[in-house]
């Protein structure tokens, strides 16, 4: 049985004006468990708090009910008061007799009666309260960033700057991501490589950062502060620590016809290659699918020419296990496949290209050394048609494209169009759009410059069909504003393909027990207030894996994610919310209902041996709650049919006691 003290606050006249506080404290004095009941002008004042502290000592109170303002105001205050007097802070309950009583009821009699009932409910609850102690767990002071694009790079640099070790895992042989493939960046038109590659070098030189390139995460266990991650370092058949990146091997390799993915297959590389000149790490990689030595054991040219002796045909995949306190997902995006959009003749003509391919075509380091040419025959294009929203905003054709707006296409198309007109004023440039969306600093000005100063022909309407005819591209389109059909003979058609999350995101989310939306973008913990956190504690989101973003937005989110990670890693221990779910293993069926509704992945299952009443033992699958991860929403408690799952601080019994007290 508890020894409960009741403290009724007048809140000056805020409560006492409509509630007979003396009557309330008198009435509650007779409730079961109550051994002391008092009222005072301002309970939250130092004097009021002292009153509580003294009563706790004098009456050896085990629980406290404060009838006062909303718990949102002073629950924390009174919990501290109780703790100061040696009482567990979770033995305090507040009866909200101000906001939900005296302030909304005018009449003293009704106000007093309701206040007594609310007090009784709180007393009934405290009678069933148990002291709660927040769980503590240590924090591994190391972060993992999955994805080495600009998002991952920025996050890693920021975390490393704060003094915490960071590992970047990147599936490609080099970090840099999509930004490395870009030519110029909107709206300032600075060269992407000029602003990205110094950051890549920073990463390489930062003592706190390790790069696992050509690697992938294969397993994640654990929880916030304590993740156990397995990283698979794929064999690149080149000793990373020995290779100097001189590039001789990539010139001597006899396998010349391997499509170069960095240039989106528009030119070729060798079987041993370095994706681009500023790659980090600048180390060669052998593509086992095309290397004759690895396939047939015949060749070995690269090994012969490598002065450093870095080539190792016998290299194996390596698995690395590491502990992390925080994980940042920065898996980025890809343009969607154009397979389902054959009306634009992408598969039929080399001169129909995606915007990313266009970037490579205009990039000085690209397949045409920066000369804008038609990929089919290398001629200079005189008419270019840009098609926007290819696969974006496809509400009606969701099996074909995406329902969402890919956000970046309007701006990069404006950039492409402007740059083309700037460099090749003789080229006619058409842009077909549904809407031009330019919300961003200096964005609309940029777009207007393209249209107004550079004479880019913006046409509201969609391209219906592109047909290759006599070496040209016949573009059929509609101009909605002029309400007419257009026929354009184009040399080049550029498709602003929608972007989608990288395919690696879904399996990663499964490993992280992080949630995703239907488009496979990671879901944030709160769309407004916690936009860089996943609902799964200790998992953070950076860049386009959370939703389409341009570079400045990505970089700011990357910094924000880093700040959250630093905030986490700066702690020696994590103290949790003690009001967490707990499973009674004797009752648990192991049916997985709770696990399925848990937004945080806080529930796992273990096989446990139970001694049965008939003296046999039985191994059963039972739920186990990770208190460091559980946030205490209680979804699991209702999903559980056997009632095995309960919530500390809001236990079924406690809520029922409140219901009973209120309904008396």
């Amino acid at each position: 049985m508890q020894r409960i003290g009741v403290f009724v606050c007048w809140c000056g006249s805020n409560i006492a004006g409509t509630v007979d506080v003396q009557a309330v404290s008198d009435a509650l004095a007779h409730e079961p468990g109550v051994v002391h009941s008092a009222n005072y002008q301002y309970m939250c004042s130092q004097a009021g708090q002292n009153l509580i502290k003294e009563a706790i000592e004098e009456h050896k109170l085990t629980g406290i009910v404060v009838c006062s303002c909303s718990p949102r105001m002073h629950e924390a205050t009174f919990r501290k008061t109780a703790a100061a007097a040696g009482l567990n802070p979770y033995m305090v309950e507040i009866a909200n007799i101000r906001e939900q009583c005296s302030w909304v009821h005018k009449d003293m009699a009704t106000g007093t009666e309701k206040a007594i009932i609310l007090g009784k409910a709180a007393v009934a609850k405290v009678n069933l309260n148990a002291p709660l102690t927040p769980g503590e767990s240590p924090v591994t002071k190391r972060a993992l960033v999955i994805g080495g694009g600009i998002a991952g790079i920025q996050t890693a640099l920021d975390i490393a700057d704060a003094g915490f070790p960071v590992d970047i895992v990147e599936t490609k042989p080099t970090i840099g991501g999509k930004m490395a493939q870009l030519d110029k960046t909107f709206p300032t038109l600075d060269c992407a490589a000029c602003i990205l590659t110094p950051k890549m070098v920073d990463v390489a030189q930062n003592e706190n950062i390790r790069i696992f390139s050509y690697s992938e995460v294969t397993d994640i266990k654990g929880f916030v502060g304590n993740f156990d991650v397995t990283i698979k370092k794929r064999a690149r058949y080149v000793k990373e620590d020995i290779c100097t990146g001189c590039g001789l091997c990539t010139e001597k390799c006899p396998m010349k016809n391997v499509p170069n993915e960095f240039n989106l297959g528009m030119d070729n590389r060798r079987a041993i290659y370095i994706p681009f000149a500023q790659a980090v790490p600048k180390v060669a990689t052998i593509d086992p699918e095309h290397c004759n030595m690895l396939k047939n054991g015949k060749c070995g040219v690269c090994a012969k020419v490598c002065a450093a002796g870095a080539i190792d045909y016998k290299q194996q995949d390596e698995y690395i296990s590491e502990k992390y306190g925080a994980i940042v997902a920065a898996t980025g995006f890809n343009p969607i496949s154009m397979d389902k959009f054959d009306e634009y003749a992408y598969s039929q003509s080399k001169d129909v290209i995606t915007s990313l391919e266009f970037e490579r075509l205009t990039n000085a380091a690209g397949p045409s050394s920066g000369h804008l040419v038609c990929p089919s025959d290398g001629r200079h294009p005189h008419t270019i048609v840009f098609v926007q929203c290819v696969g974006s905003r496809c509400a009606s054709c969701s099996e074909k494209g995406k329902e969402y707006c890919s956000k970046i296409c309007c701006m990069y198309t404006a950039k492409h169009a402007m740059l083309t007109r700037d460099k090749y004023p003789d080229t006619e440039v058409y842009v077909f759009y549904i809407d031009v969306r330019t919300p961003g600093k200096n964005f609309d000005e940029f777009y207007r410059r393209a249209a107004e100063e550079y004479g880019v022909k913006y046409i509201k309407g969609m391209v219906g069909k592109v047909s290759p005819e006599n070496g040209k591209l016949h573009v059929q389109a509609s101009d909605l504003l002029a309400d007419k059909q257009l026929h354009i003979e184009a040399d080049l058609v550029v498709l602003a393909a929608a972007i989608e999350p990288d395919k690696s995101a879904r399996p990663l989310a499964t490993m992280l027990t992080a949630s995703m939306d239907t488009n496979d973008f990671f879901t944030e913990a709160h769309p407004k207030l916690r936009p860089v956190e996943s609902p799964t504690a200790g998992v953070f989101l950076s860049g386009a894996c959370q939703g389409p973003k341009d570079i400045p937005e990505t970089v700011s989110q990357a910094g924000a994610a880093a700040a959250k990670v630093i905030g986490l890693l700066a702690k020696d221990k994590l103290t949790g919310n003690p009001c967490v779910a707990n499973s009674n293993e004797l009752m648990c069926n192991g049916c997985s209902s709770c696990e399925r509704v848990c937004p945080y992945g806080a529930i796992t299952y273990v096989d446990k041996e139970f001694r049965m009443p008939d003296r046999t033992t039985k191994v059963r699958r039972v739920a186990s709650v990770n208190e460091a991860v559980c946030q205490g929403c209680g979804a699991c408690t209702v999903a559980c049919p056997s009632g095995a799952m309960d919530l500390k601080g809001f236990a079924t019994k406690q809520i029922i006691a409140e219901v009973d007290a209120i309904c008396k």
Partner: protein, 339 residues
């Protein structure tokens, strides 16, 4: 012996109902049930009610006392009151016999005053069975469906109903309806009895005897290997015990009201996993033990304490209602070495 025409039966009911609540089997969706007679209520032709007649004396739940709390004060309230007079019409021989079995438990010292109160105020009118079911085996326990007994025995033919008082209470009730009945000889009843006796011989379970069972047989059957397979499919539900006219176990429980506690008793079932659960745990932890308890009680323990009377009346309800069709007949056959 008195008789009246079936045409007058409703008038007889009306007359009885003037002085006491009258309950009788009434057809409902899903089977016959005992219901209070009102103008127009017609008597069911069903062989038996779904639930037994024990409900009248030992209802499923019954308040025993109440604690009223006010602040920290507690007042104890005795909720017992004199039960109203009532008459139950149409009780079959098996259920009639069940009252004797219940009496031996509830009316022995210390007398169960709740049960005794109801028993004292109830008059039972029985009815002979003319069309027993294949599940009937009352004769196994020496019960004569043609001589149902109780306060008044009745026989119903196509046109008439015959009454014979067996007790003082019965005499009194019969005299109260004398105006609607007339004296008669026993020829028609005797003829019916003979017919019933013929039918009883034809029943598929006619050959079942309880001879192998009875008091003192605990050691013989307690560890019988058959229990394992007999009990293996038992769901542990309480159907058999709740439809049984002789099962008399109850639990005493508290219900928290808005201003105190009602202490009530309710039927319990030895098939339930928390039956006989005590502070230290449960003495019967497996369904085998719980299953065995029920049948040992009917066939061995009860007769041991009650001059050889068996704790089963062969009404056949459990045969019809068990979800997995396991029942006392199968148990008796198996333990008895048949089947």
């Amino acid at each position: 012996m008195r008789k009246c025409s079936l045409d007058n039966l409703q008038k007889v009911f009306a007359l009885i109902a003037e002085n006491a609540s009258l309950y009788l089997p009434v057809d409902k969706v899903g089977g016959a049930v005992f219901e209070k007679w009102q103008e127009g209520t017609s008597y069911s032709n069903a062989l038996n009610t779904v639930r037994s007649a024990k409900d009248f004396f030992f209802p499923q739940t019954e308040n025993m006392m109440e604690f009223k709390t006010k602040g920290k004060e507690i007042e104890v309230v005795d909720t017992r009151d004199e039960h109203e007079d009532f008459v139950v019409f149409g009780v079959r021989a098996c259920d009639v016999k069940s009252f004797e079995i219940l009496d031996r438990v509830f009316l022995c010292e210390p007398v169960d005053s709740f049960y005794a109160n109801r028993r004292a105020h109830g008059v039972i009118i029985s009815m002979a069975c003319t069309r027993p079911s294949e599940t009937c085996f009352c004769q196994t326990f020496g019960i004569d469906a043609a001589n149902p007994g109780a306060d008044i025995s009745c026989w119903k033919t196509d046109s008439e109903i015959f009454f014979e008082a067996n007790t003082e209470k019965g005499e009194k009730l019969l005299s109260s309806i004398a105006a609607l009945t007339e004296d008669t000889d026993e020829a028609a009843v005797e003829a019916q009895k003979a017919k019933i006796a013929e039918i009883m011989k034809k029943l598929p379970l006619a050959g079942i005897t309880p001879d192998k069972f009875g008091g003192g047989k605990t050691s013989e059957f307690f560890n019988a290997p058959q229990w394992k397979e007999l009990s293996q499919s038992c769901l542990g539900c309480g159907t058999c015990t709740f439809v049984c006219p002789t099962c008399q176990c109850y639990d005493i429980r508290d219900f928290k009201t808005n201003d105190g506690v009602i202490r009530f008793r309710c039927w319990d079932s030895c098939m339930y996993s928390d039956f006989t659960k005590m502070a230290h745990g449960n003495i019967r932890n497996s369904q085998l033990e719980r299953f065995r308890q029920r049948f040992m009680h009917k066939l061995v323990y009860y007769p041991e304490n009650n001059e050889g009377i068996f704790g089963c009346v062969g009404c056949g309800r459990c045969l019809a209602k068990c979800p997995i069709s396991m029942n006392i007949v199968k148990v008796m056959k198996s333990l008895g070495g048949e089947a």
